[in-house]
Symmetry: C2
Subunit: 274 residues, 2 copies
């Protein structure tokens, strides 16, 4: 069982969707105790409330010894505006927790991993309930929080690993939120970007990751690619191989992650139980 | 007068549009000699020919002592795939030239500026002929190449300056194409990006530019912003001010640059004649 605090460091959720997640959890994972922080439903333009409100809710959830895990309700954009301050505000209770999410939430996973706070985990979020088959994604995260590692990304081995949305990682490299990834298997996935933009992001990210001396790169799914005025002429795997070769990074193959219901779990660091 | 070699380091041009540029130039700037390299019309998927062809044409134009300037025909995406090799292949003739373009061409301007080769210049390109009022943009570049500095960005002073598309600069920071911008006024503009993406890019770029100890940031136009599912809640100038303050970068105000016909000229370094 786990006591799970849910907050929104980026964009807002709806009460209807929260109720669907609570319904699924109480029916299938009654051992868990899920609490949606009110801040999940705050709205301030693009964001789930102003920076200060999102920061306060995140730190409150992280620092409350009554919770075992903090689950980011949704990605979108905005965690970078508070991640640095959030990490600075965390206490000993935060260090015992799992922090679970992906996409823009990867910004927090990175900052926490850099600071050595808790267990950052790339995993589905409550908002995945909106996808076709999204209940399975939510089950995968709830299962992992119950000690079930079947939802973990299958290539995980005894090397430390991390997983990121490619754009999120591209915006993190070189900043003071970026962890040292020496010796890590780095998995990246992307959604809703033109193929030329994917190539451009791989250029940027592989350049920075080469300096980290990572163990190698794996490519997850690149989905919902918008149609361009002409075909790009190369597929994402060929791009990833090209940039890995250019920067002497080991190409390790594909990863079973993506912005979809099949998105698997990647605990940051060396994989294992909760 | 200037002998101007035109090539396509990124995406292809059309012969019809080339004819329009040649027509304008011969009617109004007969003192110039414009030569469109055949490579401008090559097509390989997204690109104006494969990397090797684009590289060869660029280096050929740069190294030919018969030309005073190299004009990038168009942006798009792709210059980063050859910029490093191009700079390594340039000779003494290249060092005497102006290199003129913007948008994705900024990647080459950066690499050349870092290497101290020639005079990189943010300025309109032949492809601007396609815009409403685009003839004026083309005239501005041709005028500058004739020694007319009236088209220069009006805030230029005795401090060195550079100008970039924000996304292009975001992909350059931290790579081995990035010049040292200590003491520089840095101008950025953006096109066709969501406001949340502009905020995210400013986060990344200001973080890196703070480490460069730049003189300050100016914001050009942020145009053709796609509609999002909800308003972002903040305008680009407020975002730029926010991130400048966060990273202790001097906010210097607006810049008269953008992906439009009014885009002004910014010679990299300290402004002056050709």
């Amino acid at each position: 069982m786990a006591r799970i605090a849910i907050c929104a460091p980026s964009t807002p959720f709806t009460r209807d969707d929260a109720d669907r997640v609570l319904g699924l959890a109480s029916a299938e994972y009654p051992q868990h105790d899920l609490v949606f922080h009110e801040q999940c439903f705050a709205i301030d333009g693009h964001f789930a409330g102003p920076d200060a409100l999102r920061l306060a809710a995140l730190v409150e959830c992280a620092n409350d010894p009554g919770f075992d895990a903090v689950w980011f309700v949704r990605g979108g954009y905005g965690a970078n505006r508070l991640a640095g301050e959030a990490v600075l505000g965390m206490n000993e209770a935060a260090r015992a927790k799992a922090f679970v999410g992906y996409s823009d939430g990867g910004t927090l996973l990175a900052a926490l991993y850099r600071a050595g706070i808790g267990r950052p985990v790339h995993a589905p979020m409550p908002a995945d309930i909106r996808r076709a088959g999204g209940e399975d994604a939510v089950r995968r995260a709830l299962g992992w929080l119950d000690g079930n590692v079947e939802g973990c990304e299958p290539s995980l081995d005894d090397r430390p690993a991390v997983a990121f949305n490619l754009m999120t990682l591209a915006m993190l490299v070189g900043t003071d939120l970026m962890p040292d990834l020496r010796g890590h298997v780095v998995m990246v996935e992307e959604v809703a970007e033109h193929l030329y933009a994917v190539d451009r992001l791989l250029f940027h990210v592989t350049h920075h990751l080469a300096a980290h001396r990572i163990a190698g790169l794996r490519l997850g799914r690149v989905s919902d690619v918008p149609e361009n005025d002409r075909p790009f002429g190369s597929e994402p795997e060929a791009m990833a191989r090209f940039w890995c070769e250019k920067h002497a990074i080991a190409w390790l193959g594909r990863a079973d992650i993506g912005h979809d219901a099949a998105n698997k779990i990647v605990p940051f660091g060396v994989a294992g139980g909760v």
